[in-house]
């Protein structure tokens, strides 16, 4: 049985993520194997942060004896609130893991109130 798999259609993979935060930043790490920097598109529109990743690895043709991988592109959307600094977002892609760092606005950080 020859199987030919194409990347057409609009099926997408929602990349699994780990999200952690502290007072000054939120770090989101998403697993997107097969995506290179060139295939990555990250946008912030209002309260929505969208991440689109196009896979650049080719889909081999032949007889699939095992098929578990999903050959679709990636799409993920997050809602971010006012406390996230829109200008302070950085992204890094290493070994198929996208790391997003979102800075929290200075004004949104907790403030210590000294007691006299």
């Amino acid at each position: 049985m020859e199987t030919s798999i194409t990347r057409s259609g609009n099926k997408m993979i929602v990349p699994p993520a780990q999200i952690r935060e502290d007072e000054s930043e939120v770090i989101a790490q998403l697993e997107m194997p097969g995506v290179t920097k060139e295939g990555l598109d990250i946008k912030i529109d209002g309260h929505t942060l969208t991440i689109d990743g196009k896979r650049s690895d080719d889909i081999p043709s032949g007889k699939y004896l095992i098929r578990e991988r999903r050959h679709y592109d990636y799409h993920k959307a997050f809602t971010i609130d006012e406390s996230i600094d829109r200008e302070g977002v950085s992204a890094d892609l290493t070994d198929g893991i996208l790391t997003l760092r979102l800075k929290v606005k200075e004004t949104a950080k907790p403030r210590k109130i000294p007691v006299k």
């Binding site: 780990q18 935060e21 939120v26 081999p60 043709s61 699939y64 095992i66 991988r69």
Partner: protein, 167 residues
């Protein structure tokens, strides 16, 4: 309206229907079932069940494709976050073993983990290659989180078109 899972909310669009939670750390049993169901639908919704792994094996191992081409056998594995040094490949006869460890940068004391959908830990997977492989000719490459192993087929196993002249 979306409710807040996170203190400052970064929120999943897929999770707009989650019920109000007291705090991200408290685990409501029904919420957990809901999450599990959603996770299943999301993961398996567009895919037939893999024939080689049991239901409960998921997701503590990499997803693999084994493709038989005309001249070679190709094994592809999604290994995001795995470094070359943490990967060990071996081939014995027609058994290929992919062993390794998937690590994650541990959050520091001040960081609070608000959501984890990914797995870390060691994994090992042995697959049966077709008998036509030549285990002497193997090439492996790890790039962008995808492992690609090419194993040549034995000469006599290669598909060849032979012209037969008719007299």
């Amino acid at each position: 309206m979306p409710d807040l899972i996170l203190r400052r909310y970064i929120m999943d669009h897929a999770n707009l229907v989650t019920r109000k939670r007291q705090a991200p750390t408290t685990l409501d049993l029904w919420d957990a079932f809901d999450d599990l169901r959603r996770e299943f639908e999301r993961t398996f919704g567009d895919l037939e069940f893999p024939s080689v792994s049991g239901l409960l094996d998921w997701p503590a191992g990499p997803d693999i494709d084994l493709v038989e081409g005309d001249d070679e056998i190709l094994v592809l594995a999604d290994l995001p976050g795995v470094r070359k040094g943490d990967l060990e490949l071996s081939i014995q006869g027609n058994l290929l073993t992919i062993k390794g460890e998937k690590k994650r940068e541990e959050p520091t004391q001040s960081h609070k983990v608000v959501r984890t959908e990914t797995w870390v830990g060691s994994f090992s997977r042995t697959i049966n290659l077709p008998d036509s492989v030549n285990p002497e000719k193997v090439e492996a490459e790890l790039r962008d989180g995808v492992l690609r192993i090419r194993i040549a087929k034995r000469e006599e196993a290669k598909r060849r078109a032979v012209q037969i002249s008719v007299k």
